[in-house]
Symmetry: C2
């Protein structure tokens, strides 16, 4: 199994149990008795904590809401794909021939999940410190600047980037209702992707309602990825 | 500050830095230069990991989806309120007179947040092992049985319990549309709480669409609690 040695070198981490590494790299399409979904479940929580603690320490004055926003900008499919790409993880994963034809090695969800599983496996073997070292090094190498202004994009922009990457389309916003007197109007907006209603939201302006709808839609798509 | 000694005894943990304990118990209404929101941010992730790892170890054959469902049943506001109550945390938290009058010491959100913050503080001082010991002992004492069947309630039931506790009302489900031929109908259902549309979902039966709508609504309410 020396094909995995370059990945270990890149990580600066030698697996005690090579089978755990293989499991972390095995997509469910590969039809083995094991796959990386359980390790991904664990890795997801490990990464939330490691990145959360990093931001907690780095920004001692930041409020909880700012920490949450920064973490959400780093801890998501696109963010983990970036870290997976830095490790060339796509070259190492085990996927079926069908997934291979389907450009599986480049899929954000597949790469992000494999990265989470990899960190889950290292956590199980060696604990939080080792995952922290690897993840924070990768993040600091991949992001030119880590602060709220640089990381956090508004929700409409983030949603558009996500739906373009995932579905090849941009969201549609529809004004469903405007109620109240002129000086105190309330707007209700719906956001659709591929004719599917993702969210409805209200706001004091069309823009505010759209942002809120995009925010809700992002949470929904993120949760769907997890389940 | 000996008023906090019984809490430490209950936890079986003596704080190295008593100020961290005070911070974890201080609600933002108390108007101090510090409050427990940052520690709660950290504790939330610590608990996700500790409970996730516990289930990962306890159920070596469980699939990722089952682990996620079990964790979601333990790691939520109602679940943490249960653990907070076992510690009588309501007796120790620092809240404003207004919150006091508003039954703040019994509020699920307030107690759940304080519990998360407390675990965040212990993690910072003493690491994951100490949090694991305390949390898992509490969980095993508070739940008669830990398995998927005992923990996981269907989404409609869970949503109803949540909206009753939070808003004092039950959700309304409205059939919005039914399309397709009789043998292959698709139903579209909306769920409202207090006249607010929380989610829309489709399904092959009314029941399936309602479950899916309730699932989405639960995610939304959970996310709103966090932000």
């Amino acid at each position: 199994m020396d094909e995995l040695k370059p990945l270990e070198d890149q990580l600066g981490y030698k697996f005690k149990d090579r089978q755990k590494l293989v499991e972390a790299l095995t997509h469910k399409s590969y039809k083995k008795p094991y796959n990386n979904e359980r390790l991904e479940f664990l890795g997801d929580a490990v990464l939330d904590l490691v990145v959360g603690e990093y931001l907690y320490d780095k920004f001692p004055k930041a409020k909880e809401g700012e920490l949450s926003k920064m973490r959400a900008s780093l801890v998501n499919e696109a963010g983990f794909k970036k870290l997976a790409d830095a490790l060339h993880l796509g070259d190492y994963i085990y996927i079926s021939a069908a997934e291979e034809n389907n450009k599986g090695r480049e899929k954000p969800s597949l790469l992000s999940n494999a990265f989470e599983a990899l960190m889950g496996a290292i956590y199980l073997e060696s604990g939080l410190d080792e995952v922290r070292r690897i993840t924070i090094d990768l993040i600091e190498a991949c992001y030119p600047k880590i602060d709220l202004g640089s990381l956090f994009k508004d929700y409409k922009t983030t949603l558009q980037e996500l739906t373009q990457a995932k579905f090849g389309v941009i969201p549609d916003y529809i004004l469903k209702d405007a109620t109240g007197p002129d000086h105190n109007k309330e707007f209700e907006v719906q956001v659709f992707v591929n004719d599917r209603l993702l969210a409805t939201a209200k706001g004091k302006s069309k823009k505010a309602a759209q942002q809120e709808a995009a925010h809700t839609a992002l949470k929904l798509l993120k949760d769907e990825d997890k389940s």
